[in-house]
Every structure is written in C-alpha cells, then in structure tokens.
C-alpha cells in the first residue's frame, strides 16, 4: 500500500535497483564489467524527486555504445535539468539475454540498474540500421510491448533518433515517435511537453498528439500510408487534424552555446574509443553523393577555437583521458584547423596527451596536420578516402580527387616517416563497371611505387579497404538500384586477383573487404517502408541480434524472414534494394523533411549519371540544395572573433 501523497506528481513505480538479481548472473557471462556501471562522471539522481525520467539507449554492446558522442551529449543536457533524470542502457549479449529471461531480470539502466520499463521516456539513438533488432530485444526484456499500439499509459514513450532514424518508417510499428536531426534542443522540447502533460495527468495519446503538433517530432500513428496496386506508395497523409503533413529535422545553431560533453562518463570496461572527443563542427557540404551523413547535417556549423579549447581542457581534467579526438565528418575542413592543431599541440604535447583528428581528405595539408599532431608520437598509419576507383567513378560520386592528388599526398606522407597508408574505397556504386574497380589495384601499385621512392625503403605498406555501397534516403542516390551482392562479390574477387597478380607489389598491399550480403540487409532496412517492420520482427523472432557483428549476422535468416513477412504484398527484397526508382515515385520518407529540396536531389542524381560535379557551398556560391531556406539556417564558420579591448 502506498501512502497518500500531498504531491501533485502522479505516482510512478519505483522498483529500485535490480542489481542484486543481476549480480548472480554476472559470473556466468563474458565481460561482466560492461553491465555494472560505476563510471566516473556517471550521474546519479534521486528517482522519486524527479519529474521526467529518460532512459537513453545505444542499441549495441556497451563497448561500442559507451563512447558514442550523441548519447554523451544528450545525457548531460538532460541531467543538467534539475527535475530530470537520465540514465543509459545498452544491448546485452545473447549469453546474458538468455539468463535474464530465465531469471526474470528486466532490461536495466547502467547507472542504478533501474528497470527500463519504469522510465517515462526511452530514447534510442541509431547510427546504423543494423541496430534495429537490438532495440526489439531491449523492449522485450523491459516488458514493454513491441508494438506501439499495445502500449498503455504505464509504458515509456519510445523515441528513435540518430542518423539511421532519418527514415523511421521501417521502425514505425515499434516506436511511438522519431526525431530527425540534432537532439540537444529536441530532447528539451520533448521533456517540457512531457513534464507539463504529466502534471496535467494527460493520457499517452494526448502526449503523443502534443509532440506531433510541434511539427518537428514524427509520430507514425498519426499518419496513414496508402499503396498503389504495384506496391509503390500512393500517399502518406496525417489522419488527425492539426498534425502537419511534413515533419522537419532539427538544426542546432551556435554550437559554442552548447559546449557538450563537459564531463562524459569514463567507462571502466574497455571500449572502442578511449578518448575525450570534441566535435569541432557539425555538417558537411562537400556534397559526396553517397554520403547520407553529409546530406542530412547541412549546413556547416563550426565551433570557435576558444570553444574547442575550453571543451578539451575541461574534458581532460574531468576524465583523465590521455587522448583527444577532434571529431566531425571531415575534420581537416574546419576553417581554422591549422591554428587549432598548433595550439593544442603546443599545449598538450609535453603532457603525454595525444591528439587525433579523423580525416581522410586526400591532400598534402591533411598530412601536415597529422605531422603537427604527432610531433613526438609514433607515425604509424594515415588513412585517405578516394572512395571511387576510377576518375569517372569519382565524378559520379562528386568526390573531386584526382590520381595526381592521391600520389602527391601519399608521397608527402611516406616522405614524412609514415610507414603505412590506408585507402578507403566503395564498391557497387551507381554506373560502376568491373574496370572502375580494377583501377584500384593499379592505383595501389602507383602508391607503393611512389612511396618506395619517397621513403627510400621497400618495406612500406598500403592497405586497401573496401566497403559495399548502400543507397541511403535523403541523398541523390536514393533513387539508385543497389548492386546485387553477387555483383559486388565478383568485382571484389577480380580486384583481389589483380592485386595478387603482381609479385613485386602483392606483399606490400593489404586488402580488406566485406562480402556484399550484409549490405543488402542494410539496404532493405534503410530504404524500407512500413511493410519492412514485419520483416524486422520476423528476423528478430528467428534470432536476429547484433546484426552489425559478422559473427552474429545471418543473411539467410533475413531472407527467410523477408519472404515470410512480405508474402502477399507483391514486393520483395529486390524491389526494395536493386530496383531503381523513378522521379515520380513517392518515397517512404518524402514526408520527413531533411530540408533538401527533392528537385535538387533529383538534378544532382542526373548530374551524377552525367559525371558532373557540384562545388562545396563553403567556398563557392550556394548551390541551392534547399536546406538553409527550408530550415531557416545558414553557414556558421570562422574566423574566431577575439574580444577587442
């Protein structure tokens, strides 16, 4: 029996921690430390004193999810609110999942091991479509009905976000809402609405309606999808008055006003990135046509030098990390990167703190930067991404790099003591022929040749790393037919033979690739519509978990699930993946507004087919992609203004 409260807050369940029950299972599973929390900087708040409680999930193992920058930022933004609590949760591996089911232990948060089903909101941040099934496991373990329609006022509101939720349609039966774009202001808006609604005792439906009315939070159930006889979408329309026809993405301006993360939790368990990460700018307008991240994060918004330095300083003091990562989609593109690199190297190179700058730009300046950041450190490897094997392919994808650029760049790298160069390419790009991919072998040999001359050594190396191209929503390639996995695999095989055939070079060139099958599933999920939800559920029921991990991924399971779930719809996996779309077709994400003008995307797709290029709007005139106009945003770049006396 609960005592009557004088508080206006509705009573919420408070089971407390499930740790004592979990604890007995931990000696039986691999790497138990990932489930115990105990991180420095983790926030612990009084559950009962809070008005709004968020659980944030990164739907992969802790070792991958804990370093995620997006979650780290939202975690702080939410916990800075006095009456808001936010805890994190991650996917549990199948060994623990089985034990949790056997012993009735629910999905839990890392901080206080609270049952996820008792939070008001569950936010799931997707970086890849291959994390979808892990969300289903978490919902199921939490005791939250898989289908949004089956949830009651007692269940959390489940909200998807992140790049892989820019087309949330395949998830629409599992999530209550989805947020497109930057999350900082979005989570605060949602919090404000939920806080108010809870105080008023509003129903779940009412809360969802209020969220949908904002025009920037997508609530799938307030939209109906009609199909044509041939399986294509006829129309997506709101089914309630005052729910808008289109839902817009969020764009955070003035990044200096959002200096997060300030003190991210420091994992005790080993993770994939052990460093203090600072996002030096958001967005990218280089216009690579395959790149969804670039297209959906326009325009470019830079942090100032002072803003970056402050985050680095505070972050190192709060975490004790020995490495700083200067993150963005292409970090060498920050307009003041040379000064940033120099000032940080001056300040930290003597204190055993290393600096890293993920950048794969193919130019000598990028090598200079890498040199600056490794003044005293080891020069092991540098990565460059020409992406396309032939000059023609690079024009198709709008990656304006010539072979001379590449040779000049690697020459500089090898001459400066770098011993290993890694080159990233894609296979299966639109209009690609065998010959385009075979050019990669020739280029790799040229790289080794140039490197041997530049370094005066024979033992330098070059690794060619190739990923299969997957067409993504909100890009000029959203209409493209994906290459069948047989085609991708055959081309990769040809390339491997070509690299191996020349004995003088074969040993110096490493070759890393993945087979094309996971790309087909990723393609199915990323350009899917609402009918794909049934495929995800079937695959999950058949055991799909951790699909991004090759040791857990099963292609056949997905194909079988798709066949069963799509039976009678008239559409199949090929229809979603290898089929080229026409201009007139209603795409499943047309009502989700990334700001990009569909006309502009189509013209860019046509330009790709003609191998025509588009310039970067940072240093050339605006190319009218539509984003700034539609979203009321503009480019924010340096120089950093210093205070005048």
């Amino acid at each position: 029996m609960s005592a009557p409260t004088t508080d206006s807050r509705p009573m919420t369940p408070n089971t407390g921690s499930v740790f004592s029950r979990l604890e007995e299972l931990l000696p039986l599973v691999s790497k138990p430390v990932q489930y115990v929390g105990g991180e420095v900087n983790a926030v612990v708040k009084d559950w009962d004193a809070m008005n709004v409680r968020w659980a944030l999930m990164y739907p992969d193992a802790y070792e991958v999810g804990a370093p995620n920058q997006g979650v780290a930022i939202l975690y702080e933004v939410l916990n800075e609110q006095a009456d808001v609590l936010c805890e994190r949760t991650y996917a549990v591996w199948p060994d623990l999942e089985a034990l949790m089911r056997e012993h009735g232990v629910p999905q839990f948060s890392i901080e206080n091991h609270r049952p996820i089903g008792e939070f008001d909101l569950m936010g799931v941040s997707f970086s890849t479509e291959l994390g979808y099934t892990n969300m289903l496991t978490a919902l199921d373990l939490a005791g939250i009905p898989l289908h949004a329609v089956d949830r009651t006022d007692a269940h959390p509101i489940v909200i998807a976000g992140g790049h892989a939720a820019f087309n949330p349609e395949p998830l629409s039966m599992f999530v209550d809402a989805a947020v497109l774009g930057d999350g900082e202001e979005a989570v605060l808006n949602i919090t404000a609405i939920v806080r108010q609604a809870k105080a008023e005792g509003a129903s779940r439906d009412e809360i969802l309606l209020r969220l949908a009315r904002t025009g920037s939070i997508y609530v799938p159930k307030f939209y109906d999808v009609d199909y044509l006889d041939d399986g294509r979408i006829r129309r997506v329309a709101p089914n309630r008055e005052d729910v808008p026809w289109r839902v817009a993405k969020h764009t955070l301006m003035d990044l200096d006003n959002w200096p997060y993360p300030k003190a991210p939790p420091v994992p005790v368990a080993e993770t994939v990135h052990e460093r203090m990460s600072v996002e030096i700018f958001r967005g990218c307008t280089r216009g690579c046509r395959f790149c969804q991240a670039g297209m959906i994060t326009r325009p470019v918004r830079e942090r100032s030098i002072d803003g970056i330095r402050a985050i680095v300083k505070g972050g190192l003091e709060a975490t004790g990390y020995e490495e700083v990562g200067l993150l963005s989609l292409s970090s060498a593109d920050h307009s003041e990167i040379a000064e940033i690199a120099k000032s940080l190297a001056d300040e930290y190179s003597e204190s055993q703190t290393s600096l890293s700058l993920p950048s794969t730009r193919v130019d000598a300046f990028n090598v200079d930067l890498a040199n600056e950041l490794t003044r005293n450190g080891r020069r092991s490897g540098l990565t460059f991404a020409p992406e396309g094997g032939s000059e023609r392919m690079r024009k198709v994808i709008n990656k304006m790099v010539t072979e001379e650029d590449l040779i000049r760049t690697v020459t500089t790298a090898y001459a400066n003591g770098w011993r290993q160069v890694k080159l990233y390419f894609m296979c299966g790009l639109p209009t690609e022929e065998d010959e385009d991919v075979l050019q990669i072998a020739r280029m790799a040999k040229e790289v080794i040749k140039a490197g041997r001359i530049a370094s005066g050594k024979r033992d330098i190396r070059c690794t060619v790393s190739i990923g299969g191209f997957v067409p993504k929503p909100h890009t000029p390639f959203q209409w493209a037919g994906q290459a069948p996995h047989e085609v991708t695999d055959a081309r990769l095989h040809l390339l491997k033979e070509a690299i191996r055939s020349d004995r003088d070079y074969a040993k110096a060139i490493g070759f890393r690739y993945h087979d094309g099958k996971p790309g087909i599933v990723e393609g199915l999920l990323s350009r899917g519509d609402r009918r794909i939800g049934a495929v995800i559920e079937q695959a999950w029921r058949d055991g799909a978990r951790f699909d991004g991990w090759s040791e857990h991924f099963r292609y056949d399971r997905w194909m079988k699930a798709a066949e069963a779930a799509l039976a009678g719809t008239g559409v199949d996996v090929d229809w979603y993946t290898t089929r080229e779309r026409t201009q007139a077709e209603v795409l499943p994400w047309d009502h989700l507004d990334s700001g990009l003008d569909k006309e502009w995307l189509w013209e860019d797709w046509q330009a790709a087919l003609d191998a025509d290029s588009v310039e970067d709007c940072r240093w050339s005139p605006c190319s009218d992609c539509g984003v700034c106009d539609q979203m009321g945003t503009f480019i924010q770049m340096g120089p950093t203004r210093t205070e005048e006396a």
Binding site: P32, V33, V36, G38, T319, G320, Q352
Partner: protein
C-alpha cells in the same frame, strides 16, 4: 624509422610509493587491465606528478603485484609508483582515492624504503561466501580435502588444459556458517590461507578441488574476497602486513 627518437627530457623518479587498494562491490567484475586504465586516468585527474618511461610511447611508471582474478573482490591488492616530485603518502592516498571510480579504493600508502616487496606477498587470506549450501556438507568436503596429500584439478587455459596441484599451498581452510543472505538462503563462509605460488592456486581452483574430493556442488556463484596478502607466519598460519618493514623505517 626515418626519424630519431624524440629527445624528450625524461625526469627521473625521486620517490617510490607502495599502494594498497581494494576492489569492492560491482567493480569486482573489473579485470586487472580495467583497473590499470582506471588508475592511470585517476592519477591524471588527481595531478599526481608521475614519472614516465622514455621512448615514443611513454608510460607512467607503475608496477603491479599479483592481481586477484576478475570477478573476485579484494581488500589487499598492491602496486608501486614512481613520482618526479616528493609527495606525502597520506595526502596521496586521499586525493587518489577520491579520483578513483567508486568500488576501487586506495586504502593505504607508504613510501617504499625497503627492497623485495613482492617477495613479501607470500600468502593470501581468502573469504569465500557460499550461498544456498548445507553447512555440514561443506565442512565434510573441507575435511576430505584436508585429509588428502595431493588434490589435482584441471584448469582451462587459453590453449587447452593444465593440471594444478592444490593441496600443498593450502595452509588452512575453515567453513563456519554465515548469516543467511537477503533472500533468507543459508550461507557458509569458507576461509582459506593459501600460499602465493606460481602458477597460483585461485579460489575457483580450490572450489573445484572441494567438488572433486568432497562432492561440493554450488548453484549460486560464490562471492570471493581476498582479505589480506603478506608474509606468512608459519607458526600461527596467519598473513601479516607487507608494509610493516617500510613503516618501521
């Protein structure tokens, strides 16, 4: 390498300190590597003036003594550090303890003034809490074990198996009843003094031995804590304080 080694000034350590730490509660699931990373970060957060090794990849000067296995708690783990400026041991204990994640605790610090510290860690006192077991059955297994001269167990290693003799390192082994746990299940507290030898006999080897000779069967994973490590008093069979010689000077 085409570049010379960096001619960084390598400051020499002016003082060495020995630290005793505890691994408690949920952080008992941390591995030794997890502890090492947490310690290095805490040393940075606490601004401890660490000495570093030379070379391209300088490491803080820390040496660890035999670490308790992952999953076991401990009140008595040891490591030594070198610093480039003198620090007060008590103050170091306080700031470093504060900087460590909750569950790792710096319990004692002394200035290292004697050699052969690791050799002093002759034996360990283990406390193994068995839940949901019958006290008489456990004591019978213990008696059977102590009556043997040799008890060999199999231990899975990275590359196969190896046999380990467990009896000769066990100095004493008791099994009094403990208080029932929070779910009312009966508990037995195994207390063992075990010599630290290489290869070391760990608590799970001991439980394995009790299963082999005495049929001890566990349903609930045991809770294991190393209570002490130090010189073995051969007469009393007790484990002493390894810092005593450093404190005496």
């Amino acid at each position: 390498m085409s570049r010379p080694q960096p001619d960084r000034e390598v400051a020499v350590a002016v003082q060495k300190l020995r630290l005793c730490y505890a691994k408690r509660g949920r952080l008992r699931f941390a591995s030794h590597r997890d502890f090492q990373r947490a310690l290095e970060r805490a040393l940075r957060r606490a601004n401890v003036p660490m000495a570093f090794s030379a070379g391209f990849n300088p490491h803080p000067k820390i040496s660890y003594a035999n670490a308790a296995p992952t999953g076991t708690a401990s009140e008595a783990e040891y490591f030594e550090i070198g610093v480039v400026e003198k620090v007060d041991p008590d103050q170091l204990r306080e700031v470093l303890d504060h900087a460590m994640p909750d569950g790792f605790h710096i319990v004692d610090v002394v200035e290292a003034s004697t050699p052969d510290f690791v050799a002093r860690l002759e034996a360990s006192l283990w406390r193994i809490r068995l839940v949901d077991v019958d006290g008489e059955a456990v004591r019978a297994a213990v008696a059977a074990f102590l009556a043997e001269e040799r008890v060999e167990v199999d231990r899975a290693t990275k590359d196969g198996h190896r046999t380990l003799e467990t009896r000769h390192v066990v100095v004493s082994l008791d099994a009094p009843d403990g208080a029932p746990d929070d779910r009312g299940r009966p508990c037995v507290i195994l207390t063992a003094v075990v010599r630290n030898e290489t290869p070391s006999v760990r608590p799970d080897d001991l439980l394995n031995a009790l299963r082999l000779v005495g049929g001890l069967a566990l349903v609930v994973p045991p809770e294991v804590t190393r209570l002490a490590q130090g010189p073995l008093d051969p007469q009393a069979g007790t484990v002493g304080d390894p810092f005593a010689p450093d404190r005496a000077r």
